[in-house]
């Protein structure tokens, strides 16, 4: 690695549809950021071309020569301890690819760190965000799917293979909805932006709910406003999402007993409706009921940037 006099780090969060890259300084301030489409439709080498180009463009934004800034990348899937993308439900082009080694090689030996995208977000929120006052932090990103990461005493818990906290495909309803991953009853089918859209669409199809706007962008806000005006179907949708969120949290709390659970991702538009429902449900789900010390539920401080900033922190730790 060449000298990095500005002490910058690049963090990239690769989502199911788009990538966000941030150039981050030592105080975790974002100096500049860029976006690109996730190369979901390309083959392996083309996808790596896109990633390489994106990293180069972020060096330009940071006004530094390629090879000077350490790079961290959050990948949307199961990442092994040595940086191989083992399985991604949404980015098959990189399945089995040693992303760390391949990108470092293409970028002339620049230090590249890779990890699971939600783990990166968890690292950010645990170290400098909403979880910084707790030792046991569980972060959930509720977007297209569910990502999760778990930080204990400032370190990610990765598990024996790197897959700890891969919670979106827990089978919460074994005979339930089918999932693109090939399974059935995966948690993210019931609690995510996708789940919200499905519930809204079902209600619209049954003609029990009328939505003026296009379902998709802003649908959470629409449902929230309807529920707050007393619409029973909209309230029912919020009840359903909250119930499945609470059930999943039941497994998380039983296994990990986090002090705080941080929620990020698009579904947090609904947080002020969903969190009180979940808090009311948890004592019916957790062992010991209300005896169980309450688990704090918080919203992520860094919004859509948690993953990219966390990836930059990962890069900084490894370089």
């Amino acid at each position: 690695m060449k000298p990095n006099p500005e002490g910058l780090a690049i963090g990239i969060d690769i989502g199911g549809t788009k990538m966000l890259g941030c150039v981050v300084d030592e105080s975790c301030a974002v100096i500049d950021q860029g976006r690109a489409a996730t190369p979901t439709e390309l083959d392996r080498e083309e996808a790596l071309d896109v990633l390489e180009e994106f990293v180069r463009s972020l060096h330009e934004l940071g006004k530094q020569e390629v090879g000077t800034i350490p790079v961290g990348i959050g990948l949307p899937g199961m990442v092994t301890l040595d940086g191989v993308m083992r399985f991604s439900p949404h980015l098959h082009a990189l399945d089995g690819v040693d992303v760390r080694a391949r990108l470092s090689e293409r970028l002339g030996g620049v230090a590249v760190s890779v990890g699971n995208d939600a783990n990166c977000a968890a690292l950010c929120e645990a170290l400098v965000g909403a979880g910084k006052d707790w030792s046991d932090v569980l972060m959930l990103t509720l977007g297209t799917g569910i990502g999760a990461g778990w930080v204990r005493d400032g370190e990610l818990i990765l598990g024996a293979h790197g897959y700890a906290g891969e919670l979106g495909h827990m089978k919460v309803d074994p005979d339930g909805l089918s999932c693109p991953c090939g399974g059935r009853g995966c948690w993210e089918r019931y609690v995510s932006g996708t789940a919200l859209e499905r519930l809204v669409q079902e209600a619209v199809d049954r003609e029990t709910l009328t939505i003026d706007s296009d379902p998709g962008e802003g649908i959470g806000q629409t449902v929230k406003v309807l529920a707050q005006r007393g619409d029973l179907v909209a309230k029912g949708i919020l009840d359903e999402l909250s119930l499945w969120l609470a059930r999943g949290l039941g497994f998380i709390v039983a296994m990990g007993d986090p002090g705080v659970i941080i929620l990020g991702g698009g579904l947090t538009d609904l947080a002020d409706e969903v969190i009180p429902r979940v808090v009311a449900l948890l004592p019916t789900i957790l062992e010991g009921g209300t005896i169980h010390e309450s688990v704090s539920l918080r919203i992520a401080d860094f919004g859509e940037r948690s993953g990219a900033i966390g990836a930059s922190l990962m890069a900084r730790r490894s370089s």
Copy 2:
């Protein structure tokens, strides 16, 4: 503490019905052991009397004066980080009791460590038993209920309040069987000695299964032999237990990604029938299916002594 020239430690495992105490040397060999009934029907002070007397008797077995040997106690319930039994489904007399302080005081200041009973068993198996070759060890004790403990790099993961790995009351079937804990659909209703007895009793009541012996002691062995002779109802019971075990393991693996899962407790009588079934089911439950590196399933090395030996290790570490 007075000198402890023999380097002994006392470990006590308090189960739902009986207590096992071991006097253990530095190599984890059991020098002597004693048993007593768990004081389930007594009040708080009487229960503490019984525990005190049991610790004194174990000092006698170790041929040492009271106050010389550090004592570790595994309690059947939720134990806080500072040694208070917060909630026990089976030993309400000690609910809310600072067992560590109260016993130490009664025993003239002897060093007492307390923890969850299954955590103690996990510590034993992870450090010196079936899990000693893995860094991420999850131990399940399948007895009257389910206990669990989780050891990572030689340290118990306790969580923010001490309740990590309290898995027996995960709600695996939210509208399912009611549980003495007050909840519904708790995992231990479906996978435990109690679950086995229920399934056998239901089959006997339906007159689809004939059991010569008294259901209870040895029932696992009986069901196994019947299944191996081709009895379809006995096979169905094993299928049912295995299915629920695999489903629960699905949550555990998603959250913690252990390298090895160690099974202890009475239900391990069925292990050679149940483990192959679970191994076959897991790829249908885990994200990535067969891509997921296989998780090793092992039987505990120390049998019914895991908890007591682990409690002695805990005592040794704290003293």
